[in-house]
């Protein structure tokens, strides 16, 4: 039996936002009956061009349904530019992780989102200059390359877990191997030189720097949406904050926090910062 997290089970047993929006601003559909899973995502925008409502219909296993449900929760309230940055890893993280063999479910979520955004923008999903590598599941080289880059994949098995490519007859394994080798070589070349070590801070310096970073990088953006954030305490690498205003009852706040605030604090203060939310 798969070792699903409680969050996966919850989103499978009580999926959020099931359905199809009648007059959607964007619709994206990926997968097929033959492949064993498929996802149809639709959304509407509010007057500020943020995703007001998102709904899904999914054919697939428990993790496919849970990933779709998570996706709709994540993107609600986002602008399309923000939504376009949601990665399959974000979907998996939101669910507390997925078994590696099931990561393709999170990739399916990201692909449906891409398709829906492109549909709204009146673009066709760019599928030119591609080659179908896996004929069993119709996976292109571009899709495989993207999965390798975004998820730092090393083996054919991993590529299969994330994209399904190579999961059928297996004839394309040598091609996938060649792609992995090529992309990893490119990634090595592109990798930026290691950043200079961050200075070791005293506790007071650290708290000051955290306050500065929150004030400059985070709070203004939250305030713009009627929310706010307050620094409660700092203990070692743990930073305790409380959400105020609109943020405190926003369902995507957990996501906002983990993803956005933690990244910023790690960038400007210290690599090992862990964010904890203090609930009132």
């Amino acid at each position: 039996m798969w070792d699903y997290t409680e969050k996966v089970k919850d989103h499978f047993l009580n999926p959020r936002n099931v359905g199809e929006i009648d007059n959607p601003d964007g619709v994206g559909e990926v997968g097929s009956l033959a492949c064993g899973d498929a996802l149809r995502l639709s959304f509407t925008l509010d007057e500020k061009k943020r995703i007001k409502d998102a709904k899904f219909k999914t054919f697939g296993c428990a993790s496919a349904i849970a990933s779709s449900s998570a996706l709709t929760e994540i993107i609600k309230g986002m602008t399309l530019d923000e939504a376009a940055k949601v990665s399959n890893q974000d979907i998996a993280n939101y669910l507390g992780g997925l078994p590696e063999e099931k990561m393709h479910c999170s990739v399916m979520g990201r692909e449906a989102l891409e398709a829906a955004i492109a549909n709204y923008r009146g673009q066709k999903v760019v599928k030119e200059d591609f080659e179908i590598v896996c004929k069993c599941f119709g996976v292109t080289d571009n899709e495989i390359i993207k999965a390798i880059r975004e998820n730092d994949l090393n083996t054919v098995e991993q590529v299969t877990y994330y994209t399904k490519a190579g999961g059928g007859c297996g004839q394309c394994h040598p091609k996938i191997e060649a792609l992995i080798e090529r992309v990893r070589r490119e990634m090595e070349k592109e990798a930026p030189p290691a950043k200079p070590e961050k200075k070791k801070l005293t506790n007071i310096q650290k708290i000051k720097l955290i306050e500065e970073t929150l004030g400059r990088e985070i709070i203004p953006a939250l305030k713009a949406d009627g929310g706010d954030l307050e620094l409660i305490d700092v203990e070692g690498n743990k930073v305790y904050v409380a959400l105020r205003g609109k943020c405190s009852f926003c369902p995507s706040s957990e996501f906002t926090l983990k993803k956005y605030v933690e990244t910023k604090l790690r960038e400007f203060v210290s690599d090992d910062i862990e964010l904890e939310e203090v609930r009132p």
Binding site: F12, G36, L39, K57, F59, G60, C61, S63, T160, G168
Partner: protein, 393 residues
């Protein structure tokens, strides 16, 4: 939460009588059957009795029974042991719907330079015996064809197959793991040279199997070691499990009629109720030649793992031929070989009953399964499309 266990083709409950018979051989009677003292001798006597019980159940001679560790070992021993006896030939015949123990071994052998013919099946999971006749050549070492299919329960015409194979003087092995205990097997009257069975499919524990080898069949041991099992399988006898299997075979013989009357009626009841209550449902496999305990059904436009987990949430234990349950990405090789359409192959569920199941349990399934399928169809994008295409919405 109550547990409704209907996954008996995967494994079965150890019968209480079986466990009871085994226990003394974990404690007081720990002697080695090969020892030259009374302490080992008394154990050897019990192992012999168990061998007689197994032989009696299969309609075989005790000397034709070789104890192994599992069904997979029996299959491997039969196939590799026969190939080893005919080193000059390179051809064997099997089917596309075998258990992985045979299927993956055939793939391995074809990589090693053997020519393996896999016979196809039709939409009902039946073999074409003409294809078998045409496939046999002078180079053929062995024909290995399962007795009954684990996923669909389809029973192959083993008698006829055996006659075709024997007429050409070729050894015939059958994987009888799913058949044993569910349908009568009389090996003396059959044309089978070797038959594999597995203890845990008939209420003995996991870790014990049997390979029946008809007297006079050419065979080289797979596990080379001591003189045990008349030199056909080295290794100290797994005494408690052998005793347990003997007991289980005695019980299985007694329960065979119940299996083919009461259990079959329960299966038929479950099948008819599911078909009645859930639209767009199909039964996989030849309903006329099927194990009495097995039901494979496909629910269109939904996926098997989701069904299983929702059933499991209610205490119902079944299995699926869908891709996602096995960690592979394609539906079961059996359903694909049968050409079950993709709309249905991903949504297949297998219910496999035992003598311990009751009518109440079937009613519990019948009550809870239809809402589960409906719930998943409401989530599935294809169900609404299907209804639209039918002008129902």
């Amino acid at each position: 939460m109550k547990t409704v266990y209907v996954d008996n083709n995967a494994t079965t409950m150890v019968a209480p009588e079986v466990l009871e018979a085994m226990l003394p051989y974990f404690s007081e009677f720990y002697g080695n059957p090969s020892s030259m003292h009374f302490f080992g001798g008394q154990v050897q006597k019990k192992v012999n009795e168990a061998r007689e019980k197994v032989a009696d159940f299969l309609g075989a001679e005790p000397s034709e029974i070789v104890f192994t560790s599992c069904g997979t070992e029996s299959d491997n021993a039969a196939i590799l042991g026969t190939l080893d006896s005919y080193p000059e030939k390179r051809h064997l015949i099997t089917t596309r719907v075998e258990h992985p123990a045979v299927d993956n071994l055939s793939t391995y052998l074809s990589r090693k330079g053997y020519r393996v013919i896999e016979l196809s099946v039709d939409r009902e999971g039946r073999l074409d015996l003409d294809e078998l006749r045409e496939s046999i050549t002078d180079e053929t070492i062995l024909v290995t064809i399962m007795y009954a299919n684990n996923e669909t329960g389809v029973i192959f015409p083993i008698g006829e197959i055996g006659e075709i194979v024997k007429a050409r003087g070729i050894p015939f092995h059958s994987d009888g793991v799913q058949a044993a205990g569910k349908i009568p097997l009389n090996l003396k009257k059959s044309t089978i040279d070797m038959l594999s069975i597995s203890g845990h499919k008939l209420h003995a524990p996991k870790g014990i199997g049997v390979l029946y080898i008809r007297k006079g069949t050419k065979f080289s041991p797979f596990l080379i070691g001591g003189h045990q099992e008349k030199g056909r399988r080295g290794g100290t006898e797994n005494v408690p499990y052998i005793i347990g299997l003997g007991e289980a075979c005695e019980l299985a013989k007694k329960n065979l009629e119940d299996e083919n009357t009461r259990v079959k009626a329960l299966r038929d009841y479950l099948e008819s109720k599911i078909l009645e209550k859930v639209p767009n449902t199909l039964v996989n496999g030849d309903r006329k030649n099927r194990l009495p305990n097995t039901l494979s059904v496909s629910f269109e436009y939904v996926e098997g793992e989701s069904i299983l987990l929702l059933l499991s949430d209610l205490g119902i234990c079944a299995s699926s031929g869908s891709a996602c349950t096995s960690g592979s990405l394609e539906p079961s090789h059996v359903l694909r070989a049968m050409g079950v359409p993709f709309t249905a192959a991903h949504g297949s569920i297998r219910f496999s009953l035992s003598i311990y199941n009751t009518k109440e349990e079937m009613d519990y399934i019948v009550e809870h399964l239809p809402p589960i399928i409906q719930r998943l169809r409401d989530i599935s994008p294809f169900w609404k499309d299907y209804l639209k295409s039918q002008g129902k919405q």
